[in-house]
């Protein structure tokens, strides 16, 4: 009876140290909802008990139901026949149970049948579920579509779309990508125009749409004819009716349970969500924020599964008269995996909390504005938080998804030849992890998103404060290493800035962002090590490894390695 929440000591550690007071006070209308809904919490403590129990439930379903089906879901995959997409048998059972358990609308308002859980806990749910089945998290995570409608739709639209997401009758799809608009979404062409009755109609193609067979689509569409950039795009909601044709589903490397569709909209009736022209610059960016958090959680869950498999196998497999776990080189790989896993989790919950509070403040400001109350102070705070979230979300996604690829790769390595075979789950985990550093913005795009904040050193005050603290015992030594990494960062940054060369800055960005991530993550684990003695080992290995990596990053920047970009055409024959 494995429970993927209660058996995960590290996840429980994070859950128990979460302080969601501010987030929940806003989310729960100061606990006024109890009057209307018998399942609403009475106070903060009660809310945390409810959330803990919800994670236990997800842990139970994930460990006992979803995980045992994962191999068959991977093997069977989603089907496509005569224009109809059907999920794998296991996926159908998984979704049924999630809706029976009231989890289909985990983050949706109670008023519309949801559980009203905060984003931070939703991320824990995604992590737990992804450990069982990486692809399932995609469909589960598309309750974000209903959440977007909650944030930006009219009262009428909310009442129309959200309740069926909560019951699990409807799933969603986020239709952004087109054949010629992938990373560059400004190039979207799908046309939305109003017919003689003022009804919006969609015409055009979307590609690589996760769960494109879902019932409600949010479609990034060009409403302003003649425009070419992002300012001509709006967000429209439509039902997946007969006018929407699934042309094909992709035959993918991994996440086979999650169908990826090519869609054609033929005069599909749709309605505008929010304001015209805000489709990309506001709503898509908002969706992506959340989707990036979600992918990070998914990657972490897959990493947890792979690490677990590797550890178990290493303790069972005997070679040279002992378990391979006893071989120092193997143990060393496992230690690296464990450190990557735990530090990734530290970033996930720190960033998720930040995005969570940012979203809650946005909602609160809207309400105050409507009531005609002053919002200046809150607005200032929101601006500050948004700046930091804009930096940390891409760092989180970059670090955790790259780590997931590394961890799953190493998990195969520890299994040796066995790991290459389909009989063991690690090859599936590696295939599932492979998409995480590609979709919702590739790793390279995360670097682009993060580099501005890194160059402006927007965590400077935060780092200064952390550095000035006194740490107990051997941890002070680690603080000194982190200070050293900071010096390396500043030297490297100065070197790049002084060059005043955009091409150079572009390629050096990866090293700079990595350097910054070591400091950020380093201080997170240092703080955890003050709370839990075992974490000292994690902090120690992470920070010492990071110092070595920092020197390498700095060396790459300063060694003029990138100068050969000028000669790329001669080298790349």
């Amino acid at each position: 009876m494995p429970n993927f929440f209660t058996d995960n000591e590290d996840l429980k550690f994070h859950f128990n140290r979460l302080d969601l007071r501010e987030i929940l006070a806003i989310q729960e209308d100061n606990y006024e909802q109890k009057k209307e809904f018998d399942f609403a919490p009475e106070n903060y403590e009660d809310a945390m008990i409810n959330l803990g129990k919800t994670l236990e439930l997800i842990g139970d379903i994930s460990g006992n139901k979803i995980a045992p089906r994962a191999a068959s879901v991977d093997e069977e995959g989603a089907h496509f026949k005569d224009g109809i997409v059907t999920y794998a048998k296991g996926t159908i059972e998984n979704l049924k149970e999630l809706s029976q358990a009231d989890l289909s609308g985990m983050i949706l308002p109670r008023k519309y049948g949801g559980l009203n859980a905060p984003i931070t806990i939703y991320m824990a749910a995604a992590e737990i579920m992804a450990r069982a089945d990486g692809g399932l998290t995609n469909i589960f995570g598309l309750q974000d579509i209903a959440d977007m409608i909650k944030k930006y739709g009219t009262e009428e639209q909310k009442a129309k779309y959200i309740p069926k997401f909560s019951t699990g009758e409807h799933t969603g799809a986020m239709a952004l990508t087109e054949p010629d608009a992938g990373s560059d979404l400004q190039a979207c062409k799908l046309r939305a125009s109003q017919d003689e009755n003022g009804q919006w109609r969609l015409n055009g193609m979307k590609r690589f749409i996760t769960n494109g067979n879902g019932d409600v689509h949010l479609v990034l569409s060009r409403t302003e004819a003649g425009t070419k950039d992002g300012r001509g795009l709006s967000m429209l909601a439509c039902y997946n009716d007969d006018t929407v044709v699934v042309r094909r589903i992709e035959n993918k490397l991994g996440i086979h349970g999650s169908p990826t569709c090519e869609l054609q909209y033929n005069n599909t009736p749709a309605e505008l969500i929010g304001n015209r022209r805000f489709g990309l610059i506001k709503y898509t960016i908002d969706l992506m924020f959340r989707a990036r958090l979600g992918v990070a959680a998914q990657a972490l869950g897959i990493s947890e599964a792979a690490y677990g498999e590797a550890l178990k196998y290493s303790k069972e497999r005997e070679q040279f008269g002992k378990t391979i776990y006893e071989i120092p080189a193997v143990k060393n790989i496992l230690l690296d995996m464990r450190v990557l896993l735990e530090t990734g989790r530290s970033i996930l919950y720190d960033t998720a909390k930040l995005v969570d509070i940012k979203e809650k403040l946005e909602g609160k400001i809207e309400l105050l504005k409507t009531a005609g109350e002053p919002v200046k102070d809150l607005n200032d705070r929101l601006k500050e938080l948004t700046k930091v979230a804009n930096l940390l979300t891409p760092i989180l996604k970059y670090v955790t998804t790259e780590a997931s690829n590394k961890i799953t790769y190493d998990a195969i390595q520890i299994h040796g030849g066995t790991g290459y075979m389909k009989e063991f789950p690690v090859e599936r985990l590696a295939r599932d992890a492979r998409i995480t550093n590609i979709y919702e913005g590739t790793s390279q795009l995360q670097i682009v998103a993060a580099i501005g904040g890194v160059i402006n050193d927007i965590l400077k005050d935060y780092f200064d404060k952390k550095a000035a603290k006194t740490y107990s015992g051997g941890l002070e030594r680690l603080n000194n290493f982190l200070k050293e990494i900071r010096e390396i960062f500043y030297e490297s940054l100065k070197y790049v800035v002084d060059r005043k060369d955009n091409v150079f800055q572009d390629v050096a960005a990866k090293d700079l962002v990595e350097l910054y991530s070591y400091i950020y993550t380093g201080y997170l684990v240092l703080e955890e090590a003050e709370e839990l003695p075992r974490k000292k080992f994690i902090a120690n290995r992470y920070i010492i490894t990071s110092l070595a990596n920092a020197k390498k990053n700095a060396e790459s920047i300063k060694s003029e390695l990138f100068s050969d970009l000028l000669h790329a055409d001669e080298i790349l024959i």
Binding site: D38, F39, A40, P41, I49, N50, K53, T54, L57, D60, I61, K65, E97, Q100, A101, D102, L103, M106, L115
Partner: protein
């Protein structure tokens, strides 16, 4: 509309036995074992809930057990039960299947108003499969055992699929009827998160007595009323509530069964006999099996 009563039991997790679990009187020391919801009972509850969904009605669950069995009753609420009864009294301690079925039948009479009584085929601690049938006898109800599925209910007749050796049998039963449900019949649904949030605070009389004892400002009857009003009261029955009960038929007194010893038997092969794949070889094997009374 059909009302169901489901008999459920909290059982020791026999898959995880450790330490001294047998008391000197031959009964199980439950405190030494983690307690779980007997799986066949959970499947029985699932079938009752399906009946409720399809035809309407209510689902009540009853258990006879120690105070901590209330954890399992809450789980019944989490799945969708409407009402829960804990039958708990020190006088019931040490009851065998005869005494237990007697108490349960009295409790079912107390609850009343039912069309179906469900039970799991057997509990994993005793494996007797006697309580369901004995309860049916005492209530003078017809019974169907080894139930896998209720195909339909029409005009007070339930069409039921039950497992038999080598296949299945479909039988019709006039309501009211008692059914015992076999493992693998119906996969129990997951708990509902909303119901967990509501019923996590459900309390038995014993829980409320404890709260009242610890706080002199609280009066038990007011507390009980408060929890009843909130629909969070687990009805708690003792011998006092079951006024008709005959004290000589319950507990150790009322239990003719005495367990002397339970041991874990590990079967292991001692010697290996090689049988030649010839007529003679196989003939010799059959003779040996006949002599050992394994065949024949």
């Amino acid at each position: 509309m059909y009302n169901s009563i489901v008999m459920v039991k909290q059982v020791p997790d026999t898959a995880n036995i450790s330490g001294k679990v047998m008391k000197d009187d031959g009964t199980v020391n439950r405190a030494k074992l983690p307690a779980i919801f007997n799986h066949e009972d959970k499947e029985a509850l699932e079938i009752a809930l399906q009946i409720k969904e399809q035809y309407g009605g209510t689902v009540s669950v009853i258990t006879m057990g120690p105070p901590r069995a209330s954890d399992m009753l809450k789980e019944c609420f989490y799945m969708g039960a409407d009402k829960a009864y804990l039958i708990s009294d020190r006088k019931f301690a040490g009851s065998d299947t005869l005494a237990t079925s007697y108490v349960l039948s009295e409790a079912i009479k107390y609850v009343g108003n039912f069309d179906f009584v469900f039970a799991g085929r057997q509990a994993i601690d005793g494996d007797t499969a006697q309580v369901g049938p004995q309860t049916a006898e005492k209530l003078n109800l017809s019974q169907v055992t080894y139930v896998e599925e209720i195909l339909n209910v029409k005009n007070n007749v339930a069409r039921i699929k039950r497992k038999i050796d080598g296949g299945q049998e479909v039988v019709d039963a006039q309501l009211p009827v008692l059914l015992t449900v076999i493992k693998g019949a119906q996969e129990p649904r997951p708990f509902s998160a909303k119901k967990i949030m509501i019923y996590k605070s459900a309390k038995t009389l014993l829980d409320l007595e404890k709260i009242a004892n610890e706080n002199s400002l609280l009066y038990l009857d007011e507390l009980v009323q408060e929890y009843k009003d909130k629909n969070l009261y687990i009805e708690t029955l003792s011998t006092t509530d079951l006024s008709e009960i005959d004290d000589t038929r319950i507990g150790l007194h009322g239990s003719p069964t005495k367990v002397h010893k339970v041991e874990s038997v590990v079967l292991s092969g001692g010697e290996v006999t090689k049988i030649e794949p010839t007529e003679e070889g196989i003939g010799a094997l059959i003779d040996e099996l006949l002599n050992d009374h394994i065949l024949g």
